[in-house]
């Protein structure tokens, strides 16, 4: 059983398209995150949800919209894709906010390539 699963694993699309990445966790955690990892491996938080409520929204373009239908799912929708959106997007979850020493569990990532 995969603890944090993301789909799709790979996504290749044209500039201007809209795409979604889905994430599900079966760990019973109450907090979920989206991280972006660029080509230099730098990990940057984008969003965090706690019990379906948005609690962290870093400086991310409005084209990115997270949605959490329940606390086990956190999806990421991206409108009007740009070349610079090409990256690996990681979903993660934790039992508590990471600031409370909760361990982050990451999915395997979704590699987005925008042509």
């Amino acid at each position: 059983d995969t603890a944090v699963s993301q789909t799709p694993k790979y996504l290749v699309t044209q500039m201007g398209n809209d795409k979604s990445i889905k994430c599900e966790q079966n760990l019973g955690h109450d907090t979920m995150y989206w991280y972006k990892q660029d080509s230099k491996k730098f990990l940057k938080i984008m969003f965090s949800y706690n019990n379906k409520e948005l609690i962290i929204n870093e400086t991310v373009p409005n084209r990115f919209s997270p949605k959490s239908p329940d606390k086990a799912h956190l999806n990421l929708h991206i409108n009007s894709l740009e070349l610079g959106d090409s990256a690996v997007y990681f979903c993660a979850s934790s039992h508590l906010l990471a600031g409370a020493a909760g361990e982050l569990f990451f999915g395997e990532g979704s590699r987005l390539t925008v042509l």
């Binding site: 944090v4 995150y33 230099k40 491996k41 730098f42 990990l43 940057k44 938080i45 965090s48 609690i55 962290i56 870093e58 990681f90 993660a92 906010l97 990471a98 600031g99 409370a100 020493a101 361990e103 982050l104 569990f105 990451f106 999915g107 395997e108 990532g109």
Partner: protein, 112 residues
């Protein structure tokens, strides 16, 4: 204030040697310092973590050394093995609604 500076960017170590990765932070409110290990094609996974009330924590071949006054912490991998080849990230956070701040990563290659 929110940055965690990590060095070196890449590291090549002989099998059996000691790998050392260093991190420095500025925010004195940080009170939790984990290290994550990432293999190619996988997500990062927690390796070991420390709180500032201790100066060292050891788990198997992995040791975190923490220097609160210098605001630095480091990861030591003893008897490094080829299977340790991965990217290592230090991170830091403080209690409350603050996300983990990651260093830029160190790509470790252990060669036989």
């Amino acid at each position: 204030q929110q940055q965690v500076k990590q060095s070196p960017q890449s590291l090549i170590v002989q099998k059996g040697g000691i790998s050392i990765i260093n991190c420095a932070y500025e925010n004195t409110a940080f009170d939790y310092f984990p290290w994550y290990q990432q293999f190619p094609g996988k997500g990062p996974a927690l390796l070991i973590a420390i709180r500032p009330d201790v100066s060292e924590k050891k788990e198997g071949r992995f040791t975190i050394s923490f220097n609160k006054s210098a605001k630095q912490f480091s990861l030591h991998i003893m008897d490094s093995q080829p299977g340790d080849s991965a990217t290592y990230f230090c991170a830091a956070t403080s209690s409350g609604n603050t996300p983990l701040v990651f260093g830029k990563g160190t790509r470790l290659s252990v060669i036989a």
